[in-house]
Amino acid sequence: MNGVLSPTDEVIAARDRIRSVREEIAKAVIGQAVVVDHLLVGLLAGGHVLIEGVPGLGKTLMVRALARTFGGRFARVQFTPDLMPSDVTGHELFDSTTGGFTFRKGPAFTNLLLADEINRSPAKTQAALLEVMQERQVTTEGRALPLDRPFMVMATQNPFEQEGTYPLPESELDRFLMKVLVGYPDEEDEARLLRLVTEGRVGSDFVLEHVAQVLTVEDVLALQRVTAGLRVDPAVHAYAVRIARATRDRVGIAHGAGPRATISLIRAAKGRALLEGNAFVTPDDVKRMAPAVLRHRIALAADLEIEGAPVDEVIAALLEDVEAPRL
């Protein structure tokens, strides 16, 4: 409130770059603009994203297109019941020429890691991701090997086929900055998608060659720094805290969100603010990101679970009850 800042050139340039990334992804991913925005928010905030949706909605395509826009490396791991932690992180291999062990890096050593159907693997393998996601490093034989930056995990899960799955533990869910729901595209988008994939093409592979690289890995890191540096008024901080705390006292919520949710709310709000081209975070940014940040961090009470009340509806009602700040 004391010094007067004008939007820096850095923020304006950042907004333009993000817009160009959006446009490139839109060449391959038809519709799903909201999901793409959430992914970009996750990338800008340096967080991980859990994506929930039925198969065939272009989740993998989305991630591959995103990786392509900044020339990042992309790895995909299909989680299965017999997947071992070392299949994700890497393993020591005996080298007969040197007579010693060398570390063969797993798919975690990448920029964008797509953990497909993460809930199909047992807790042991899921737990292997904990260190990777939180510490951004892999420890082997007492050595900590840092992962590449930027590093982002996008995990998918199917909401319907629950048989033979291992629900993610709360501690791991909390590591995800957001949980994004992917829905079916609307009719017009689906028709465009159909034309794009089927006209003059053999097979049903999606088109990625039109997606151009508009950023470098360093640009992404710079964007993350800009995001981190956005201004947040203390009233907005207080608003985020009020929202998170409201989940703990709320009737109908068995387990509320922890302090990590408050942190995630502000990080995600910063990402959204930059996406909107603002050098500051508003309560609106916090409120808009709250459902994605909170929906996997709260557990509904048994009666609401039985009733089948949607968690988003509970969050929406909660957000209406928490007074928005005004300066």
Partner: protein, 535 residues
């Protein structure tokens, strides 16, 4: 049911006319034998008697009913009436077509045994009485089978029927009639499922066809023909069970009349008189079944006059002495020993009563009665309290979860509030001429303060002047959407510009350029001063 058959013999012996076993099994007693079967029975014995009586007549009752119900149901199906509605109609009209079974039973009780053709020919006569009432207000009656004879056989309606039912229901058979309905309703359901299961079991393994899924998958997912099959099956099951329901109810009705009017004795006396007068023991069989049935039914239903006896010439005092003399006869002092299980506590109480009640027992009884009264009131109060508490909890839980937003969004919104978002919005906290005050601040270079005043004033007037209700949880952007919906397009656009300038200034520390500030200040009165653009 076998009990009823075996118990029929002693009754018959009492009448002095032993029925042949075959006749009893056929359940086709003539007047003498049929009435001889009647004697005071417990409710369940009566129902058992009814079932035993109905078994030999089952086929003709079923066929006669089916000949009425099935063609109508089929016709409705052919007219494309939804199958579920057809099943519902068949169920709903039970009080009409159950009369067919009652007709067969009532005639057969007196030896007539009407054929299916005769039953159907007589249908218009007995089905019409009070039909509308039976298919509307009386349809939910749980004592239908017990009450139906009053309408169909006694021909009572209106006040007479009500008084008659009031008398009949005082007895011990009403509860049994209700339970009979409950039992047979469950039996119908069980039969329905059992037949479906049987069909499912008979499908060979290699055939991949889920009978149960096909049959019970209702609604939009129902397979073609499944609802027709299920509805027809339910109609058939209803037809199959209905004769027993009618027979059980009819038997209860008969035994209530035995209790009430000593009907069995009356008819035994008639038989005796007939025999003493040297008439054949089967007068109706010989004189013509139809006439006999009419006479006996008339007697049974109380329509015939009183039977002349020598008692008519007696004066009351002589009659009383003769009655006393008769009652002193050994025949009225027969002792029957019946064994029934009883609670030990009851036995102990009985023992105590044998010794005469003590003062303590009397006090205890009075105390227990008083305690029971108080406990009854307490229990009712507790139940009501619990229900109230439960309702309150549920409502509170729903409102706590959804904040009432699902049902009553208005309750959560605040119109022209004095305080909102931590801002003072009361009219008296605003300057009289807010635009002038803002201009003064602008002139002093306090653009942030000027914008804050304009924004606060706009929020206040949006409620008080334009009647726009803002939610406490609404962010700046959401308030813009709400105000835009409640004002003209230009007014909404102005508020959006003002909000944008304020947000940039407040959260981004980016002060608007002087031209924008002046413009916002100059235009404010147009939209938010009394008598302005939208006001």
């Amino acid at each position: 049911m076998s009990a009823a058959t075996s118990e029929a013999s002693p009754g018959a012996e009492r009448s002095g006319s032993r029925p042949e076993p075959d006749d009893v099994r056929r359940g086709a007693p003539d007047l003498a034998r049929g009435v001889a079967l009647l004697r005071p029975r417990s409710a369940w014995e009566a129902v058992d008697f009814g079932f035993a009586f109905a078994r030999p007549l089952y086929a003709r009752m079923l066929v006669a009913s089916a000949l009425v119900v099935l063609p109508i149901s089929t016709l409705l199906l052919l007219l494309r009436v939804p199958a579920e509605w057809v099943a519902l109609a068949a169920w709903w009209t039970k009080p009409a077509w159950e009369r067919i079974s009652l007709h067969v039973l009532s005639r057969s009780l007196f030896g007539e045994r009407p054929t299916v053709r005769e039953t159907l020919r007589a249908l218009p006569r007995y089905v019409r009485r009070d039909l509308l009432a039976w298919l509307t207000i009386r349809r939910p009656s749980p004592t239908r089978a017990f009450d139906l004879p009053v309408t169909q056989l006694e021909g009572a309606s209106g006040v007479v029927r009500a008084q008659r039912l009031e008398l009949l229901h005082r007895g011990r058979f009403t509860g049994a009639s209700v339970l009979l309905l409950v039992f047979l309703a469950h039996l119908e359901l069980a039969l329905l499922v059992a037949i479906a299961l049987l069909a499912a079991m008979l499908v060979p393994d290699p055939v991949d066809f889920d009978v149960m899924g096909w049959l019970f998958q209702l609604g939009d997912d129902a397979a073609p023909g499944a609802s027709v099959a299920l509805s027809l099956l339910s109609v058939l099951v209803s037809l199959a069970v209905a004769p027993f329901h009618v027979a059980g109810g009819f038997a209860l009705y008969l035994h209530r009349r035995v209790d009430l009017e000593a009907w069995d004795l009356e008819l035994a006396f008639r038989r005796l008189a007939a025999r003493l007068e040297g008439r054949p023991s089967h007068p109706i069989a010989q004189a013509g079944r139809t006439i006999g049935v009419v006479v006996v039914l008339g007697l049974a239903l109380g329509l015939a006059g009183p039977i002349p006896t020598h008692a008519e010439g007696l004066d009351p005092a002589t009659a009383r002495s003769e009655i006393a003399e008769l009652l002193a006869d050994e025949a009225f002092h027969r002792i029957e020993t019946i064994s029934v299980p009883r609670f030990l506590l009851d036995r102990e109480l009985d023992d105590e009563e044998d010794d005469g009640p003590t003062a303590f027992a009397a006090w205890l009884e009075a105390f227990a009665e008083r305690f029971a009264e108080v406990a009854e009131v307490g229990l009712v109060a507790a139940a009501l309290g619990f229900l109230g508490w439960l309702s309150w909890r549920i409502l509170r839980s729903r409102e706590g979860v959804f904040g009432g937003s699902r049902r009553d969004g208005r309750a959560r919104r605040v119109g022209a509030p004095r305080e909102l978002f931590g801002l003072e919005l009361a009219e008296e906290t605003l300057p009289d001429d807010l635009a002038a005050a803002a201009r003064t601040l602008l002139a002093r270079g306090e653009r942030r303060a000027a914008l804050a005043l304009l924004y606060r004033g706009a929020l206040s007037r949006a409620g008080s002047l334009h009647g726009i209700q803002l939610s406490r949880g609404g962010t700046e952007r959401e308030c813009v959407d709400v105000v835009r919906a409640g004002m003209s397009e230009d007014g909404g656009r102005y508020f959006a510009s003002l909000t944008d300038a304020w947000v940039r200034c407040a959260y981004g520390q980016i002060e608007p350029d002087p031209a924008l500030s002046d413009g916002l200040c100059g235009e404010w009165s147009r939209w938010f001063a009394p008598g302005g653009g939208d006001a």
